[in-house]
Every structure is written in C-alpha cells, then in structure tokens.
Symmetry: C2
C-alpha cells in the first residue's frame, strides 16, 4: 500500500448536524490542529446552503449524490447534485493528486456513541478501527459497504470513513460529543502519520464489527403514515442484542409489536430523525469478531 | 368564573415536533378520547405545510404570529401569518362561541420533562397546575406571561396552556413522552369537566412555580457566530439551581465560562435547537412557592 498523501475532513454534509460544522470551522481557523508532516489535510464544509438554513439539505440528501465519475453532468440541476460535483472537483481534481482518505463527520439522534462507519473492508481500515477502539472503549465500529460511486461521499475515495456520533438532536451542539469527536479525528490523523512514517502501532488483533444486514421500517397504513413508535424498551438501546420476542414498536393505541426474527441482531440508527422519510426505523446488524488483523 | 364551553387542543404548530402532531391525529380519528359531557373539544393541526415538510415552519415561527385582533389583515402574506389568521377564525369565529381554553402541544430538545407553561397567572390556571403536579410528580410548572395578542397561540384565549415535553430531538417520536403527554392532556380535560360539574378536586394548596426572568444568549463573535457550547455540567440540567461561579458554557477551544449572577436561578430551555436563531441559549427562571391557592 502506498503512502497517504491527501486527507479531507468534511463536516456539515447535512446542514443540521452541527458538531461537524463547528469542528470544520475550528480546523479551518487553525490548520495546525490537523496538519501532519507526511500528508496534506483539507477541512471542508459539505453543504453551506443547508448549514445557513439549519436544514439537512435544500433539495435532496447530499450524501446520496456522489454518483458521477468525476465528469460534470450537465443534466443535473438540484443544489446538492451540483454541490456534489463541486466537492468531487475539490477532492479529486483532474490531473492532480487526489484525496486518499475522507473523514466524514455526522451526528445522529440514535444513541450510537462514537461510531466509525467503514465504507469497505480494506485491511488498512479494519486495522485503523481496531486501533481506535483499543485506545477508546467508547468507539464502536460498523461496516456498511457501499460500492464506489454509490452516492455516499465516503465511497469516492480509497479510504472512506464516517464518524457518526449521538444521541444528539438535530440543530444543537453537544459539548461532550464535540470534544470526543475532535479527539477521535486527531487519533485518525495521528494513525495516518504513524503509518506513513513506518511506525507499527500497538493494537488488539481483534475487532468487534457490527455489519449492516437489513433495515426495518415503521408500521405504516396504506397512505404511508406511521402507525407506531420505537418501543420504550428499545429506544436508545443501539448495539444491544435484540432477540425473538423482544418488543420493538408500540402503536399509538398502546399495542406492542415484537421482533420476529430467528437470530439475534444488534440494531443501530434506532429512531434517527432523518430516516423517517427514508422508511428506516433502524438498521439491523450482526456482531462479528475479526481476528488476526 | 363561567363554565368552560369550548377547548382546543393544538399540535404541530411547529412541524418538526411530532408528539403533538401524532396526538392530534389520534384525537381526530377517535374524538371519544377528548370529548367530555360539559364542553366541546376541538383537535387541530397548527402548521400542516411545515408538518408535511418536517420543518419547524415555512416562512416564520407560527407561534409568534398571533398578533391580530381577529380581523383579517390584507397586508400579511407569509404562510404562517395567513395560517395564524385561519386558526384564529376557527378558534374565535365571529358571532359564535369562542374557545375558552387552548392546550398547545410542544416538544423541546431541552430536558424539561413534562412542563406546563402558563400564559398568565389566573388563579384557575394556577389551581389546575397545582392539581396536575400533585397527581404526577414529573410535572413542572413555568410561567411565561404574555400579553393578549403577543404573538403566542396561548395568548389569544382566556386560559392558554402549553405542554412542553423533552428532551426529544426534532423530527422524532419518543413513545414514553408521547404516552405521558397523552395522559396529561386527559387529566387537563378531566379537570375542566370536574370544574364545570362543580366538583372540588383534592389538591395541594401549594404550587412550585418557575417564573421566567430573562434569557441568556450564546457567546458570539462580531459576525454573530456562536463561539461556545452549553457546558457539559449544565447540559440536560433544566430546573436545577445555577449559582454564581457554576460553569455554563465551554468554548470550542475548551475554555470554561461561568455564571456571574449574584442570585440562584433555575435555567430551562437549555440548548433548545429552535432557539439558536432566536439568540437564546437558555431561559433563567426563579423558583417560587405559591400558597393558599
């Protein structure tokens, strides 16, 4: 594997996820915080117009717009499609060195603590994740594999990484999670620096990985209206085991709905605000131990 | 005091506060839940367009638009100004019986539990609040007095009451708070029914009331950009005493900022998402005991 030469830190791809917005502003004001000797680091606000309006997006979710193969597509006209092209031009300029790694900063209303979401299962990303979870037991690691050009920002480069922190409401700053996210960003940059300099970092050889399996939608009526809420016994219980017969929803009339799957799963993104419109009440994952990294 | 003849329950004045939206939909589908023998109850969605878009408002905050005196004002053009006029026509139709009491359902990202906000200090509202807090110790009572026509929905009728529940993120349902809010609405309606029927309800003669004194904004730079976050030691500590020297903010660089007031206050609406743009980091209240109700 080659050296890492260019790294991008992106915040505010969703304009109402403020921790990433204010971290990137901090990094832009004091680039010493993110500069390392062996590579270049760029800090970028993803969706400035949505940030100004305090909304997730203007026309559509920017983090589903990174489809194109680097060439401008003149048929696109939504704000986010055009902004995705701009970002791609910044991170992957033609005939110039491109970004090797992206750290994409997000928050969630689900109780996901400090979660790393890996864009693919490259051994370098797995070792990085094992290292970060070994130095900070609050770190959880999910894989949600996406093909190149699948629409996610993290999918446009070789090493794409999302830091997803919560529970935090949209539109607010949580100081504790802000500071924890900041330290996690520095730990990733330090790992890249050490890698470039040939240092071998002490780490567990084992990684606990939550692999995305499927999604569950809310119960809905024929008009698509939600008929039930996340059950109080499941609310804020991301990463805890869910077994056959455990309650997952409660209707507005108080009727409980139970999990009917045969195998134990580990839900994440439970009650994420932005996923109501996507038809996602939670993601189900399976817990894996990966050895001999 | 006369009988209560008409009551309105309003949800979704802010389109991203879902507990009120779905409670009103439930009440509209089964009006037996809110009908009482001695008065008429109307359930109304405040801001349908904002609800459809999952936003607090379209053009401006609807709950600051109830200024007019019942007559249509042809110079107004924003969606919320026009909707406020429509609501006023529904609740206070010319030459017909008007609504005596409004129960306005809201949620907050602050940790305010089940809060009643009283629009004025009418003894009937104070006795109602004392009764509700005596039957449910989770109920807290704030007064935030507003003149008639001050812009708040609750200010347009004789007995205006807000139920403000949290902490809950914008755009999500929290089942536990949904069910607690529902029970609180029924308790209010039952109290009105008993009052109309001349029953004397057992209650404490004492009410703990948090009276709004002032607001505190975030530290900002000359461009108005926020420079600090709610301190972790204050986050989620609504209704707890704040004393001289207690930390209230922490800057993005980690510097702590302390409360400098001489008297003990009780902050509420700490880190409410919708108040960033209003220049409000928290409301400060003073705690009062009101006796001999």
């Amino acid at each position: 594997m080659n050296q890492i030469n260019r790294v991008a830190i992106v915040g505010g791809s969703h304009g109402n996820e403020l921790i990433g917005v204010y971290l990137v502003k901090k990094f832009q004001q004091d680039s010493n915080l993110i500069n390392r000797s062996s590579f270049e680091t760029l800090a970028l606000l993803g969706n400035p117009k949505a940030i100004a309006e305090g909304r997730r997006y203007i026309d559509k979710d920017l983090n589903r717009c990174f489809h194109n193969q680097g060439l401008p597509n003149p048929t696109l006209s939504s704000y986010e499609d055009l902004r995705a092209q701009e970002i791609q031009q910044i991170l992957q300029p033609p005939n110039q060195p491109i970004v090797d790694a992206i750290i994409d900063l997000h928050t969630t209303t689900a109780n996901m603590g400090l979660t790393l979401i890996l864009g693919d299962m490259h051994p370098f990303l797995l070792r990085l994740a094992a290292y970060l979870s070994s130095i900070n037991p609050l770190v959880k690691v999910c894989s949600h594999q996406q093909a190149r050009g699948s629409g996610y920002l993290r999918s446009i480069c070789e090493f794409g990484l999302v830091i997803e922190v919560g529970a935090v409401a949209q539109g607010i700053l949580n100081a504790e999670l802000f500071q924890q996210t900041e330290q996690l960003v520095y730990a990733v940059l330090d790992y890249f620096e050490d890698y470039n300099q040939g240092k071998t970092l002490q780490t567990n050889n084992t990684l606990t990985l939550y692999e995305a399996l499927s999604v569950v939608d809310y119960p809905r009526n024929e008009e698509g209206e939600i008929q039930a809420m996340i059950h109080p016994q499941l609310q804020f219980r991301d990463y805890e085991p869910l077994n056959l017969g455990d309650p997952i929803f409660v209707t507005f009339e108080g009727q409980e709905i139970f999990y009917e799957g045969a195998s134990t799963v580990y839900p994440v993104f439970i009650n994420e605000a932005a996923y109501y419109e996507k038809g996602i009440a939670m993601h189900l994952t399976q817990k894996q131990l990966i050895n001999n990294l």
